[in-house]
Subunit: 356 residues, 2 copies
């Protein structure tokens, strides 16, 4: 795919003649045909005001770009791919919705590819099994390494999400995992808890998220002068509710069970919460609980879940903006790593149920 | 796209010569090149045993079909699209995962398209904005009508999901909505509840699911000899947790609040549950609660949620099988409507918390 060619407006194909064309949009918006083409193709060097005017005209005239003609002429489809491990992990589903919305503002359609975190599927994604179909890729890998991606021969623009690959071969949008995990753990300690457990450790290569969040947890203990007790760190095979529920059951079976638990994502925390309530433990009176991700689910459970809330809207916005810059060739050389803010949202699972 | 052409094996392109080819796979699997091609292209007239043998050989040799060459020669990409309204409705996320898995068994990759239920985006999907990219479409529309789809000029094979369009222009996989809603309501009545409310009514054109589930609710009341009270039917703008929470608040403000609620999906029920617990009501002692969809979320809340569980795995399996038949040209004329089973899963929100 490489650098995009100059944005010469496509000539109307025979098929287009009966349809609303770029010229009609340009006339109504009071801009040049080239500007309309830039908007339609998601280029960034259009002011927001002009973009809005063109998009209004596109809407009014119900203009639809002739995709196949554009494809053939310019090697651009107006489609980007989002590849994530699992859509039924709500964090990825919420992120997908926000990325679809952010891409829409650039006139781009998103197709979503669920890799299951399998190395084979991720390789297909990275090596552009459908490079002729998409203009760019936002990719949250679980199995591939930085070396895999450096060896990639496909040159479709790509932006990485998640903790798997750093300092790497592509632009990257990420949150401060260590700092965020430390904040959540310090909050539990500040409640007076002294046996703070962690659920979510992982040994395997895919466990980069686990490694960073565990580092934050340990940093908090060290800062508070609490000993690190390996017995309070519960490993899990995956980050689903069932894993959290099973890990919590093991922690409760300890001779000295924890009085607080930091879970490395909200699904683990929701599973742990179920085990605690099922066994008759009060949350937070006996065991306080915090998660990570701020999925909607945790806002409606009882008790509601204290959690680290990454700015998902900003992750989506930055990922799409970086990708559009790469696609339009306006990005500077060298790859960028963008850190997005988070905040600790304190709710009933650490401060108590508020039932009147 | 139309009928597929005969499955002549593609000749190796110059690019293929350094790579593992169909012939290598055929040799290892002990089958003809044509059979390998049939497997790779997802045709159904291959026995499961042969398919398994070929897939083992593909895996062993790490064979990857040359997609662009196949595209050009045969008009097939091995990619199908799944278009759903919203991925952060867990029902759709769970269904997406199962459809990806079912498609994989046919050697097909799924790209997912989130329409937001917007008429414009659904029209793009139906009219094949990317018909050159995909071999088939599994589509859960919210805004389009049967007439819209009958007028469709794109002939990409399509299978419909959901309640929006019946007796229609394409194969359709669906559950018995009226019967299922009736069962859930009868279960609430059988607990001795006499003021059974419904959350999820919708007036607008998109509310076909609502219409069917309301019919089931009314049928249950009639069968039990209970009066239908319009004041106990809570309309909602959408099927999210927030809508359920707000609707429950309105029902609790009635002079005579309900003693049971049937919610038309689990998200509504989880929102309603939050409102009930927040206001200090015991569930189910004071108000029993049932939902629809059996999302994982409802299995881990406290109390766990009684719900109608559609056989989602079977919906996915049937949708992909119908689509593959259409794609391979082996489907009979006329469209088919396949009803998939469901069962009522009874949990704590109607039978009481089980805390030791």
């Amino acid at each position: 795919m490489g650098e995009p060619t100059a944005a010469t407006p496509p000539e109307p194909s025979p098929d287009d003649r009966r349809r609303v064309g770029l010229k009609d949009v340009a006339r109504l918006a009071g801009v040049s045909v080239k500007t309309v083409s830039n908007v339609v193709n998601g280029y960034v060097h259009v002011t927001p005001k002009t973009r809005a005017r063109v998009e209004r005209a596109i809407k009014e005239l119900n203009y639809r770009p002739n995709l196949s003609a554009r494809n053939l002429r310019r090697g651009r489809s107006g489609i980007i791919a989002l590849a994530v491990p699992e859509l039924d992990i709500p964090y990825f589903a919420e992120l997908a919705r926000l990325i679809v919305a952010a891409a829409e503002e650039h006139g781009l359609t998103v197709l979503i590819d669920q890799t299951g975190g399998s190395r084979h599927r991720e390789q297909q994604v990275a090596e552009g099994i459908r490079d002729q179909l998409i203009d760019g890729l936002i990719f949250s890998p679980l199995a591939l390494t930085a070396d895999d991606l450096s060896a990639r021969t496909d040159d479709t623009p790509m932006v990485l999400l998640g903790e798997r690959i750093h300092n790497g071969p592509a632009d990257h949008v990420v949150v401060h995992n260590v700092a965020a995990a430390k904040e959540a753990t310090l909050h539990l300690i500040a409640l007076g808890r002294r046996r703070v457990a962690a659920i979510g450790a992982q040994d395997d290569a895919a466990g980069e998220t686990a490694r960073l969040r565990l580092a934050g947890y340990r940093a908090a203990l060290a800062e508070a002068g609490l000993p690190f007790d390996e017995g309070l760190v519960a490993p899990v095979a995956a980050y689903h509710r069932a894993d959290g529920a099973a890990a919590m059951a093991r922690l409760l079976d300890l001779a000295e069970p924890p009085d607080a638990v930091f879970c490395f994502n909200d699904l683990l925390a929701l599973g742990a919460l179920r085990t605690l309530l099922e066994r008759g433990h009060e949350v937070p009176a006996e065991v306080a609980l915090a998660g990570f991700d701020d999925i909607e689910d945790g806002r409606y459970g009882t008790p509601t879940l204290t959690t680290v809330s990454p700015d998902k809207r900003e992750i989506a916005r930055q990922a799409v903006a970086l990708l559009v810059e790469r696609m339009s060739g306006t990005a500077r050389r060298g790859t960028r790593e963008i850190y997005v803010d988070h905040r600790l949202v304190i709710r009933e699972s650490t401060t108590g149920r508020k039932i009147p």
